[in-house]
């Protein structure tokens, strides 16, 4: 399967990842090559095999509902690019009108 520059552009919006025009073209070419290899999965008869999500083979792991110490807000905010009081600060999230 080939992947086009337009596909890459569309996916990059879904992934919230700004890509230059050059990167979009380059990735389209490189990912098409990678998809050729991945398409070999089509040849495999997987019948009724289950989808293997984790090799740990665990089901629900329960614990007592007890409060444990956690990082205090000041520590947690130390690496923030922008903050105000006890909060992370971001540019506006709603349209102006």
């Amino acid at each position: 399967m080939r992947i086009t520059k337009e596909d890459v552009g569309r996916i990059s919006i879904l992934a919230r990842l700004k890509l230059s025009e050059d990167d979009q073209s380059l990735f389209a070419e490189q990912l098409s090559g990678i998809l050729q290899v991945i398409d070999s999965l089509d040849e495999v008869d997987t019948g009724d095999m289950n989808r293997m999500i984790s090799p740990a083979g665990l089901t629900n792991v329960f614990r007592e509902d007890v409060v444990l110490p956690s990082i205090d807000p000041e520590e947690a905010l130390k690496n923030a690019p922008d903050k105000e009081g006890a909060f992370f600060k971001v540019p506006r999230i709603l349209e102006a009108d």
Binding site: Q30, S54, A56
Partner: protein
């Protein structure tokens, strides 16, 4: 012999008997880093003051008569995707260039409780995506055996610093071969434990259903000593193995007669280089001389492992790295009007090309129209590969093969074509998909003096047998005793990556 050249199990008795102080041992390692790392460039951050402070504290404890701890005074290097409280942790990404974790990974807590001392954070491919450490956003690490070759990856800095005596041992992480392949390229021992054996808490997640932290050491005994400390249940890792564990160092007897060792024929097909094949064949002879029964086996679906791996790992990476949103930590692109553009621009500017490529691939295979064809199908193929291993382990105690199809390649040789780079992991990816352990041990050198690694794969959670076979092989050979000669150049004279201290 200098202190920094000693293995963990050689240095520990000297410290326990008070023949050497912790400060002396740690200082020799730090001096070695200062002398050599301008050339090797294994470290992103050297935590000199931190290490000396901890060394003094350890000496004070010992002077008071407190009993020495299991790894007392050993200098450890930590791959830079494992969180160290108060010590910068970058994942070799511009995005996290200034990130100082507010907490320690579980493995760090355990190692420090056992008396080990962090001397620095090692270079890697950005967010562990790569096989040569050339995808680091900081700089490339050189292979101590030949400075024009790569050290492998993604744990290339950890492998290089261990063989160059710039640390007593190191931690790496392995999602598709990132401990074993650089161990093979640098001529050391590298173990990827069974999935769930070592806690992932505090590891910067790449593909969480395959990620494991493991030891990178100069011999198998050191590997067992470290595993004893880092393995074990951790409630903070939802996939952590809850069972009882043996004393791995106590399992090291050089005795393997009567064991059955399988050789998957798929590992010896096209793509395997001549020198690696030759060294591997000699290793098989050696295992037979030691009394093991060597049989050919087949893993019929393993030829699809690389395809399944790149679908699953990219999908998980795309999801995992959604946490890099420019809000809570890391890079934020300046001058953006609204949050959505801020996130897209921060990721676009802060991440390197391989990481972006995998986010795009991961998003593509998870998108509504492709999910069934790629992602779900890859998970079914993963089940088949896992079943193949379970079948052969009914008759075999372990499997062996080459760790990588080639020895360390030239720097720049594979950076143009991502697919070419991926093929370097063709033998290491299957154990990650199945969740079984794999170890690389030195098994020879090619005619240009580059090391070759033997991969031994074991049953899930049976690291004891795996380590015993690795130990028996190692004790019957002397490849693990060789060291490279590295020309020295101090890092003060040529800074490899900006500031190099905490």
């Amino acid at each position: 012999m200098r202190l920094n050249e000693l293995k963990a199990h050689e240095l520990l008795p000297l410290i326990r008997r008070h023949e050497v102080t912790v400060e002396e041992a740690v200082t020799e390692t730090l001096d070695r880093i200062a002398a050599l790392d301008g050339t090797i460039q294994a470290y992103i951050t050297v935590a000199r003051e931190h290490a000396l402070q901890r060394a003094k504290e350890a000496d004070a404890r010992l002077a008071k008569g407190e009993p020495p701890r299991p790894l007392e005074g050993l200098s450890i290097a930590i791959k830079d995707n494992i969180c160290t409280k108060g010590i910068r942790t970058t994942g070799a990404s511009r995005y996290l260039e200034d990130f100082i974790p507010p907490y320690d990974a579980t493995v760090i807590e355990r190692l420090e409780d056992a008396g080990a001392i962090v001397v620095g954070k090692t270079n890697m491919d950005e967010f562990a995506m790569g096989s040569s450490t050339e995808n680091s956003a900081m700089f490339s690490t050189r292979n101590p055996w030949n400075l024009n070759r790569v050290p492998g990856g993604s744990s290339g800095g950890s492998a290089a610093c261990v063989i160059a005596n710039e640390a007593v041992f190191a931690l790496g992480s392995d999602t598709g071969g990132s401990i074993r392949q650089p161990a093979s390229f640098c001529g050391i021992v590298g173990l990827k434990p069974s999935y769930g054996l070592v806690s992932r808490y505090g590891l910067i997640g790449y593909a969480s259903s395959m990620d494991q932290i493991g030891p990178m050491t100069r011999d198998v005994r050191d590997c067992a000593l470290i595993l004893n400390v880092i393995a074990g249940n951790d409630p903070r890792d939802s996939q952590s193995y809850p069972g009882e564990l043996p004393d791995y160092a106590g399992c090291l007897v050089p005795e393997i007669s009567g064991l059955t060792i399988g050789v998957p024929k798929e590992f010896l097909e096209e793509g395997l280089s001549g020198p690696v094949r030759d060294a591997f064949m000699k290793a098989l002879d050696r295992l037979e001389e030691l009394g093991a029964r060597v049989v050919e086996v087949s893993l019929p679906h393993v030829r699809h492992a690389l395809a399944a791996y790149y679908v699953i790992s990219s999908a998980e990476a795309g999801s995992n790295l959604a946490r890099l949103d420019g809000v809570r930590y890391g890079y934020r692109a300046p001058g953006q009007e609204d949050s959505a553009s801020m996130m897209a621009a921060s990721r676009g500017e802060g991440l390197g090309p391989e990481v972006k490529r995998r986010i795009v691939l991961g998003t593509y295979v998870l998108s509504a129209e492709n999910r069934e064809k790629y992602f779900n199908e890859a998970l079914r193929v993963r089940s088949l590969i896992s079943r193949d291993f379970q079948e052969v382990f009914k008759t075999c105690d372990c499997l062996v093969g080459p760790t990588s199809p080639t020895v360390a390649f030239e720097a720049g040789e594979k950076t143009r074509d991502p697919l070419e780079m991926y093929l370097s992991d063709v033998y290491t990816v299957p154990p990650n998909l199945a969740g079984i352990p794999g170890i690389s041990v030195p098994c020879g050198f090619d005619e240009e003096g580059m090391p070759v690694g033997l991969q031994i794969m074991g049953k899930q959670y049976d690291e004891a047998t795996l380590l015993r076979i690795a130990y028996a092989f190692e004790q019957a050979t002397d490849f693990h005793r060789r060291r490279p000669e590295v020309p020295q150049k101090t890092y003060q004279s040529e800074s490899a990556g900006g500031e190099r201290s905490v």
